[in-house]
Structures are given as structure tokens and as C-alpha cells.
């Protein structure tokens, strides 16, 4: 990519309010290409709201969002989205294949229906998340981890360049979590940019290249090593989590064990 290429995501002075009560204040952000970014912050910090504001699902009260230099609607095809699992009704009358094919809808024009090529893409994506044997299964007969894999396969079928994932690790089994981490790594290796809402500080440090610390405003954004410090996490969580000190402790202990560290 040439140095002049617009960044995958640029947010300028974004403020979002529900019923005139702001939940996100003045976010300024430029996400560089090919990064795996974790969005971290306490409950109610506005992590999901940020994702929805980027997608234009929640209209901002001020500020703007650019996707590869253009407004969202002109570049929707370049964005893949994994919503929270609880946001849909899993008794809906569709099977796994139907759901994954929905990822192809953005590439089809009006009045067009998914064809053979789209099915092949969908099958390949299901294979990647190891759900191909379940392609014809009704979605209500899936476990939480399997549901999450299906959602990920649907996003993969979108074949986008920027992926937004809202809590993909919430309530999934260990095997699914590590499978998702592997796939996210593969996507990044192919130059994709990923933004992942994440709530588990203990793993955040290992999973992500960059972290966005969020608590209604942006506390910090940068490479994980620079951002994942006691002071900054303290500023984000405000001492609300006891886990915080444990995590920070384990980190400082690690550093002591490696005297030649930076």
C-alpha cells in the first residue's frame, strides 16, 4: 500500500449520545493498516457504541468517520462486521449456510441471489472455522461457541479489508476462543485491519498489537506494550476492578524476571 493510501479507519471528534446523554465524547482516532486492535474498557464504557457509530448504526451527534478515506456507506463492502451474539434471535428459521451466505449479500446487487461462487466462498469460510459439517443445521441447535464461529464465518464471507468484531470471545469455550485468535492472526497476516471489542484484560495483552483504552472518552491508543501500563489501565477502569492490580503485578513480575528487557 502506498504511503498516501487513506487509513482503514479515521475518526474525528466523534461524539455519540443516547437521548441527549453522551456516551462517547470527542473520539479522535486513526487506525493504521494491518493492525489487530483491541478495544478495552469497563462495562458501559461505550465499546459497542463506538463500533455501532463507526458502522453508522448509531448516528453521531458530532464528528465524522471515514473508512479508507470515504464515508461508511460508500465503502460498506470493505467492512466486515461480527455483532454480539445476543443481538439476534437464534430461533430464526435459517440454517448455518443461510447465515453465512448473508455475508455475500453486500457483494450482490439488487435483485441478485447468491450463486454457486458465493456458496463456494461460504463453504470455504465455514471450513476455516471448522463448521462445515454443520452447514445444514438449524441455528437454534448450536452451542454458544458454534454460534460465534458461524458469525465469524459470515464476516469472513464478506471478504473485507477492515473487520469490526463486537465481543467475539464472550461466552465461548476455550477451543473456540483459540480458533478465533488463530483466524484473526491469519487475517492480519493477509494485511487486514481488525478492531475487536474485548473485556478480558488477562488475555488482551497477548492477543492484540494495539490497544484502544476506552471509558466514554479515549484514554489512550497505541502499541500494546506502551498502553498496557498500570497508570493507563487505572485511568480507564478507575480502580473498579481488583483484577487490574493482579494483571499489572504479574506484568511487573515478568519484567523483573527478564532483566535485559527494554
Amino acid at each position: 500500500m502506498s504511503p498516501q493510501a487513506p487509513p482503514p479507519l479515521e475518526i474525528h471528534d466523534l461524539t455519540v449520545a443516547y437521548h441527549k446523554k453522551p456516551v462517547l465524547y470527542g473520539i479522535d482516532l486513526v487506525v493504521p493498516s494491518g493492525q489487530l486492535v483491541g478495544i478495552v474498557g469497563p462495562n458501559g464504557a461505550g465499546k459497542s457504541t463506538l463500533i455501532k457509530a463507526i458502522l453508522g448504526l448509531t448516528p453521531p451527534s458530532s464528528g465524522w468517520v471515514r473508512i479508507f478515506g470515504k464515508p461508511y456507506r460508500s465503502n460498506a463492502k470493505r467492512v466486515g462486521y461480527v455483532p454480539q451474539r445476543e443481538s439476534v434471535d437464534w430461533d430464526f428459521p435459517v440454517n448455518v449456510m443461510d447465515v453465512v451466505l448473508m455475508g455475500r449479500y453486500g457483494h450482490l446487487g439488487w435483485l441478485k441471489r447468491p450463486g454457486k461462487g458465493d456458496r463456494e466462498v461460504a463453504e470455504a469460510c465455514l471450513e476455516k472455522v471448522q463448521m462445515l459439517p454443520y452447514a445444514r443445521r438449524q441455528i437454534s441447535n448450536l452451542s454458544g461457541g458454534q454460534q460465534q464461529r458461524v458469525f465469524l464465518a459470515r464476516a469472513l464471507a464478506q471478504e473485507s479489508d477492515l473487520y469490526l468484531l463486537d465481543e467475539p470471545f464472550a461466552g465461548v469455550d476455550v477451543a473456540t476462543e483459540s480458533a478465533i485468535v488463530t483466524i484473526l492472526g491469519q487475517l492480519r497476516a493477509r494485511g487486514k485491519t481488525l478492531m475487536v471489542v474485548h473485556h478480558d484484560l488477562t488475555t488482551a495483552r497477548n492477543y492484540f498489537d494495539m490497544l484502544l483504552l476506552l471509558n466514554m472518552r479515549m484514554v489512550d491508543f497505541g502499541p500494546t506494550d506502551e498502553v498496557f501500563t498500570y497508570d493507563k489501565l487505572q485511568a480507564t477502569y478507575g480502580g473498579r476492578l481488583t483484577i487490574l492490580s493482579q494483571v499489572a503485578n504479574s506484568r511487573s513480575q515478568k519484567e523483573e524476571n527478564v532483566p535485559l528487557g527494554r
Binding site: H19, K52, L55, G56, L57, R73, A76, K77, V79, Y81, P83, S87, V88, D89, F92, P93, V94, N95, D98, V99, M102, Y105, G106, L108, W110, L111, R113, P114, Q138, S140, R154, Q158, L164
Partner: protein
């Protein structure tokens, strides 16, 4: 059927409906005008479609069944079922205003008024639940009753007006499928075909918007546009259905066939087809019974027919039906009985240190605490399933309790499998879940019949391929199975 063409069958049915319409004589007589009441005559008249008014009613029923089945499917899967009821009540003031506008029963004026009132109702619902903390169901209840009451007030005022041809406005309240005019029928046909075209063209957009609104938006689709398109079509179909079945029963016409279809399938395109077929079937059945009964109201009969279909699906559908489930339970209970008998045979043989292949029938009865006749019944089950053979003793009756029972290879395998499941599970509970050894038997009695091969493999691996259960008894492993002595059938 290929999912991409959800509505091909419906198209055919609609063409048939159109032909009926074209064949319709414009000088319609009311169904009730018939004088002969003899059952067979009526039946012949019904199926020969000689009556123009019957043709009207039938055509309208087919169209309405299709239209309401299609749109009803979407509101059922979107959990918006109350929306149909809200709309049907909210359109009432619009009907009255449409009448006051022209002071005639001009169907187009009434149609426009009703549609506007219905859409206004949905906007008010949306506005209340997005700007206040009142939830959507309460907002719908508010709009439903408020608009309906306003409609009744306006209707009463119209009745007191000195001028105007106001007779027949009450058909919007209670519905009168037999009194539909040619113009009404055209309206019903046009709206149905519009809905059908919209759903065929925008099937994928409607599907993704209904399933996952946020994702549809993220795809770059105009999710809101498709939401409002469905709501508009819904309002239109409520307005056309109103005259046929009345305010209260419109929502039944929307929900019942769709809910029936939802019991029978888990794919949206099939649900759409089934729902419209059920809608049409209920329409025809309603028209038929009201015709047979001479001047009985069609609308309620349509809904009774639709509800009957729902009840049938509730009882007989393969997945949720009460009766198939009952049959499945019965066959599972029988399997568990058989497995318990086999297990008892294993236990008896184990007590003899597996020295005899055959065991006396009496020993089996003692082991399972069964009366001789019950034991005979159990044994007949085993023999019939090829799990055991019975020694040929003296000719019956009475069968000798000393006759010997031999398990076949598959019977012995099943017996070993059940005992192994039981003992593995007991061991798992004591070792891994830390149950006390005297607490585990009852649980294992149930689980032994449910464990699959994969789970058993996992248990074995986790317990490090054990050979003894917590009570010190041998766990028959698959390897033992082949070695367990069948040789030396010492009778």
C-alpha cells in the same frame, strides 16, 4: 425446492385465482340468497363454482390467504405479532375519515384513509418507544386501543349524520367476505400481487433485515427502507383483509397460518410457502363451510379453519408435535426396558463368574423383581429383536421357569455396553466430580442409556482406561467383549 425461488408455487395458485376472478360474473348475488339447502346440492354448487358470489368469496380468500401468510411470516419471526392487531385497530379512524371525505363508500378513498391511519399508528408506536422508556408492547397497546376508540366515536357520529349512504360501514368492524364488491376484489388482488412481487424481488434483503438488522445495515443495505417497506405492505394487507374478516380477526389471519408454518419448518423460504398455502387452505375451507351452512359468516370460519390447522400441526408436527414426541418417548422407554433386561442377564452371569452361558428364566425374574408373566413379556421382546434365544423346553403351557435364556452376540454386546456405561459413569462421578460412592448408582441408572460412543471414549481417556468401578467390580471393556467366553455353551 431451491431456496432462491420461494414463491414459484404461489405464483401458480395466484394465476388460478385470477382466472377465477376473470370468470366471475359481475352481477353478484349474495351467498345467502340461495334457497335450496340440501347438502349435496350445495356441495355440487360449491365445487362447480356456479355462484358468482361464491367465486368472489373464494378468490378473495385465496388472495388474502397468500398475502397474509407471506407478511404474517415476517412479523411472526420478527416477534412483531402484536403489530398486526395494532394496525387492524389503528386503521379504523382512517376508514371513517375516508368515508367523511367523500361521503360515499368509495373503496379507494376508504383505502387511502385507512392506510394513512395505519401508518400513523406505527409511527406513533415507534415514536413512543424510542423517545420514552415505555416499551414497545405497551406502546402498541396504547395505540391499538386509542385509535380504535377514536374510530368507534367517528363511526357513531357518521351513523347520526343526516345524509350519505352509510349502510355497510360496519363490515369493516366485523367483516363480510360474502359482500365484497368487484372493486374490493381488485384491490385485494393488486395488493397481494404487489406483496408477492416485493417479497420475491427483495427476499434476501427482507431475510437479512429481519434476522440481523445491524448486520444488514453494515452490509450497506438500507435496512430501514426494507423495514418500512414490510410495514407498509403489512398495513396495506391489513386494510384489504379488514372487510373480509373484521378488525379483531385480521391478526389471526396474519399470525395463525404463519405460526403453523413455523412449527413445520426451520427455513424461511419454506415457511413463506407453507404459510400462504395454509392461508389459502383456511380461506377455501372457511368459504366452503359458510356456503354449506347457508349465510354463515365467512371470516370466523376462515379463522376457525386456520386454528384447526394450527392445532393439527401442534399435535402432529414431527419436531414439536405432542403425539410424535409421545411416540418417541414410548419407544425410548421400551429401549431402556430392553437394555435393563440385558443388564440383568449380565449381572446374573457375573454372579456365576460367567461360568454358564445360559441363565434360567427364573433367575432373570428374581433379578429384575418381575412376575413370571412380565418376564415372559420381556423375553419375547429380546427374542423379537434378535438379542436373545430361548432354549426349547417342554411344550407350553405353562412355560418352565427353568428354561434357559441365551444372549446372541449383539445382545451380549449391548449388555456389556450398558454395564460399562454404568460403571464408567459411577467411576467418573466418584473420581472427577467427587461424589461419594454410595451416591452414584441412581444417576448412573439413567445415564447408562444415554451415553454415546464418543462420550464413553472421552470418559475412558480421562479416567485412564480403568478396569474396576468404585465398588470394585470389573468394567467390561470393548476388548473383553470379544474374549468373554461364548465357547463351551454348557447348558
Amino acid at each position: 425446492m431451491h431456496p432462491n425461488y420461494p414463491c414459484r408455487g404461489l405464483g401458480l395458485a395466484l394465476v388460478a385465482g385470477l382466472l377465477l376472478l376473470a370468470a366471475g360474473d359481475l352481477s353478484a348475488a349474495k351467498i345467502g340468497d340461495l334457497s335450496d339447502t340440501r347438502f349435496w346440492d350445495q356441495l355440487v354448487r360449491f365445487f362447480s363454482l356456479r355462484d358468482p358470489s361464491l367465486r368472489y368469496t373464494l378468490t378473495a380468500s385465496l388472495f388474502l390467504g397468500t398475502c397474509c401468510g407471506l407478511l404474517g411470516s415476517f412479523i411472526v419471526v420478527r416477534k412483531l405479532s402484536l403489530m398486526g392487531d395494532t394496525l387492524s385497530h389503528a386503521v379504523l379512524p382512517g376508514v371513517a375519515l375516508g368515508f367523511l371525505w367523500t361521503m360515499t363508500k368509495n373503496p379507494w378513498a376508504i383505502f387511502v384513509g385507512a392506510t394513512i391511519a395505519g401508518l400513523l399508528g406505527t409511527v406513533v408506536v415507534h415514536w413512543i418507544h424510542t423517545t420514552t422508556h415505555i416499551k414497545e408492547d405497551s406502546a402498541m397497546g396504547l395505540v391499538l386501543s386509542g385509535f380504535y376508540a377514536l374510530g368507534i366515536c367517528l363511526f357513531t357520529m357518521i351513523q347520526q349524520l343526516p345524509t350519505g349512504n352509510k349502510a355497510g360501514l360496519d363490515k369493516f368492524m366485523f367483516g363480510q367476505a360474502a359482500a365484497l364488491s368487484a372493486e374490493d376484489l381488485w384491490m385485494i388482488g393488486i395488493i397481494t400481487i404487489l406483496s408477492l412481487i416485493a417479497i420475491v424481488l427483495f427476499y434476501k434483503e427482507f431475510l437479512v433485515t429481519s434476522f440481523d438488522f445491524g448486520f444488514a445495515h453494515a452490509l450497506g443495505l438500507s435496512a430501514r427502507f426494507f423495514h418500512y417497506l414490510i410495514m407498509l405492505l403489512l398495513a396495506l394487507s391489513v386494510v384489504i383483509a379488514l372487510q373480509a374478516v373484521g378488525v379483531v380477526l385480521v391478526s389471526a389471519l396474519l399470525i395463525t397460518p404463519a405460526a403453523t408454518a413455523f412449527l413445520l419448518t426451520d427455513r424461511m423460504h419454506r415457511m413463506l410457502i407453507y404459510a400462504s398455502l395454509f392461508g389459502m387452505g383456511a380461506g377455501v375451507a372457511g368459504a366452503f363451510f359458510s356456503y354449506l351452512g347457508n349465510n354463515l359468516p365467512t371470516g370466523p370460519f376462515i379463522i376457525v379453519a386456520a386454528s384447526t390447522l394450527f392445532a393439527l400441526a401442534l399435535f402432529f408436527s414431527n419436531r414439536y408435535g405432542i403425539i410424535p414426541r409421545w411416540i418417541r418417548n414410548l419407544s425410548r422407554d421400551r429401549r431402556i426396558q430392553v437394555e435393563n433386561t440385558l443388564k440383568a442377564v449380565y449381572h446374573v452371569r457375573e454372579e456365576n463368574a460367567f461360568s454358564h452361558d445360559g441363565i434360567p428364566v427364573k433367575a432373570l425374574g428374581d433379578r429384575r423383581n418381575l412376575s413370571p408373566s412380565e418376564v415372559e413379556k420381556e423375553i419375547r421382546q429380546l427374542v423379537r429383536r434378535g438379542l436373545a434365544t430361548l432354549e426349547q423346553g417342554e411344550p407350553e403351557p405353562p412355560p418352565s421357569p427353568e428354561r434357559k435364556l441365551f444372549l446372541t452376540a449383539s445382545g451380549w454386546e449391548t449388555a456389556c455396553r450398558i454395564v460399562r456405561n454404568h460403571r464408567l459413569w459411577e467411576l467418573y462421578l466418584t473420581e472427577s466430580v467427587r461424589y461419594r460412592p454410595d451416591h452414584v448408582h441412581d444417576d448412573a441408572e439413567e445415564i447408562e442409556h444415554l451415553l454415546g460412543e464418543d462420550t464413553v471414549r472421552q470418559l475412558e481417556r480421562r479416567l485412564n482406561y480403568p478396569t474396576r468401578d468404585p465398588h470394585g467390580k470389573l468394567i467390561p471393556s470393548l476388548r473383553d467383549l470379544s474374549q468373554t467366553p461364548f465357547a463351551g455353551r454348557s447348558g
